[in-house]
């Protein structure tokens, strides 16, 4: 029999390994489009890890928002850029040894500080959604709209500021550009475009010209 706990553990390590490897690929791949795709993979496998933690709403939201929208726009921009990859790489190779040393030192410090043993002792607490007898999504929604209502609304304000900023920085009113104004088109009054003239039928004075002989 396959022990479900063991299976979960194996899955966790597999997804975690993919996440880390993909994250590494993001910063090491030569082609920036490949790097973006590696980032997509990072998000995707992170979402899988969250699924294992029974945070299904967050996991799928991560995919919908980041994989489905944000990264597509990233890809959009990267595809439009004409970056000379070699130049970008030069600095990377030159500083690589220093970077590796710094990273190793930091890693060692982190491990020493946190203590590998201490980490092992921690397990995830009881799932609050299960304790409340709700599905993950319903529980999250309840928490978001009661305990965390204020932060939630502030986050909405931040998004508003984001929109205002984006418009303020990019909207330029150009003169002389011919735009279609749909509202104006709809509002058009047929009487201003065509004048129907009523007049008495008049008999043609001259006889019709003779048809040329075929």
């Amino acid at each position: 029999m396959i022990d479900p706990n063991l299976f979960q553990l194996v899955c966790f390590y597999a997804f975690a390994a993919v996440t880390v490897a993909a994250a590494l690929a993001v910063i090491t791949l030569k082609n920036s489009v490949h790097a973006v795709l590696a980032l997509v993979l990072t998000f995707f496998s992170a979402a899988c890890v969250w699924l294992l933690a029974e945070a299904e709403f967050l996991a799928i939201a991560l995919i919908v928002v980041y994989v489905g929208a944000v990264m597509v726009l990233f890809l959009f921009v990267v595809m439009m850029l004409d970056i000379n990859q070699e130049q970008v790489r030069e600095g990377f190779i030159r500083f690589l040894p220093v970077g590796i040393v710094v990273a190793l030192v930091m890693l060692a410090e982190m491990l020493a500080l946190i203590g590998v043993r201490a980490m092992r002792a921690v397990s995830m607490g009881p799932n609050p959604a299960e304790a409340a007898g709700l599905s993950n999504t319903a529980w999250l929604g309840r928490a978001l709209y009661t305990d965390y209502l204020l932060p939630f609304e502030v986050a909405a304000l931040i998004l508003t500021v984001g929109v205002v900023a984006a418009v303020a920085l990019t909207l330029r009113k150009r003169r002389g550009v011919r735009h279609q104004d749909a509202g104006e088109q709809v509002r058009v009054d047929p009487r201003s475009r065509i004048r129907i003239v009523k007049m008495d039928a008049v008999r043609a004075q001259a006889p019709a010209p003779k048809e040329p002989q075929a």
Binding site: N31, E56, A69
Partner: protein
């Protein structure tokens, strides 16, 4: 051990095949039906040579595509070029796992089914973008950009429509959503009535999201030849084709499940056998929607690109945002009784 393998491996595979194989066949027949319908609308015969009534035309096309050479353009990105069709196909098929065909007739009855669907449909765009970019062709790239922008824009409107549905249903589970539309009045209990504007927006957005006419600027053959898949040939092209039609059928099924009561009968349950739910109802509803796709294609001229964007951002999204509030009021004040 043997029983476990049977339960955890064999049966799921069988179930998956039970959906995937009919889906592929449905796509083939749908293509035939499309050509036939458009032919009739153009006062033509449509395919009629291969098989009785031309029924085998689609299979002949498949065979033709499969034995053709897959051409890799110069300087194309080989890996991504071959990966792109698969990325388009996988989400189109994966989304089917949560579609309920009837009471308990669903592959995965997950709680966050609607979210899962959103996630899957939003991932389909990668296939298009990567195909456009990896082909190393201007037309393909232009088609990909257009398509990606369009899909993302309409996804927002579509997502807001789904929010309306789940506000009324109170669940993300598709089976529960269908149950919420059950009642004593038959089709008057379904969500299309309280959510009428949203229902229209959803389906039109579905058409736009699948890049179908009249929103098919992504492959506008008069401007950019064939859009993102211009460089693809043979089986790689066939896969894109399959994904596109599978997506159309998916949108048709989803519209039926979300707004037209899924497998429920349009008649009140009190009318005896005709009032009982059955997966046949769902197929009939989905067929109507699928037919609409073809009807649109034969009737409407292609939208201009800026018009598409205007429709999505300035018309659909505001209306659906307003309707989220309306749906909230309906639910809160009990104007709509769900799941009676």
């Amino acid at each position: 051990m043997g029983e476990q393998i049977l339960n955890q491996v064999v049966w799921p595979v069988v179930y998956i095949l039970c959906i995937a194989v009919p889906l592929i066949l449905a796509v083939a027949m749908f293509v035939y039906w499309e050509r036939k319908v458009i032919g009739w609308m153009h006062v033509r015969m449509g395919p009629n040579k291969i098989g009785p009534l031309g029924l085998l035309q689609a299979f002949a096309d498949v065979v033709k595509l499969l034995i053709k050479e897959v051409i890799l353009p110069t300087n194309a990105n080989r890996f991504l070029y071959y990966l792109a069709p698969l990325l388009a196909l996988v989400p189109a098929f994966a989304a089917w796992s949560v579609i309920p065909f009837g009471e308990r007739m669903v592959l995965a009855n997950v709680n966050a089914g609607l979210l899962y669907l959103l996630a899957m449909t939003s991932m389909g765009v990668y296939g298009i973008i990567l195909a456009g970019w990896a082909s190393n062709s201007r037309y393909a790239l232009l088609g990909a950009m257009r398509s990606a922008a369009q899909v993302i824009s309409y996804e927002l409107a579509m997502g807001l429509c789904l929010v309306c549905v789940l506000v009324l249903a109170g669940s993300l589970n598709l089976t529960d959503i269908v149950h919420a539309q059950a009642g004593g009045k038959g089709l008057l209990d379904w969500f299309w009535l309280p959510l009428l504007p949203v229902f229209v927006i959803y389906f039109v957005s579905g058409v736009a999201e699948t890049n179908r006419a009249p929103f098919d600027v992504a492959e506008g053959e008069s401007e950019i030849v064939a859009g993102f898949h211009v460089e693809y040939s043979g089986s790689a092209f066939a896969i894109f084709f399959l994904a596109e039609y599978a997506n159309m059928i998916l949108v048709s099924f989803l519209a039926s499940v979300l707004f037209l009561g899924g497998w429920l009968s349009p008649f009140p349950p009190s009318w005896g056998w005709i009032g009982q739910g059955s997966f046949a109802w769902l197929f009939v509803k989905a067929f109507v929607f699928a037919f609409l796709f073809l009807w649109f294609r034969a009737s409407f001229p292609r939208y201009r690109y800026d018009q598409i964007m205007r429709l999505g951002w300035k018309v659909f999204i505001p209306i659906s945002i307003v309707w989220v509030l309306v749906a909230g009021c309906m639910k809160y004040f009990g104007w709509v009784v769900t799941g009676a």
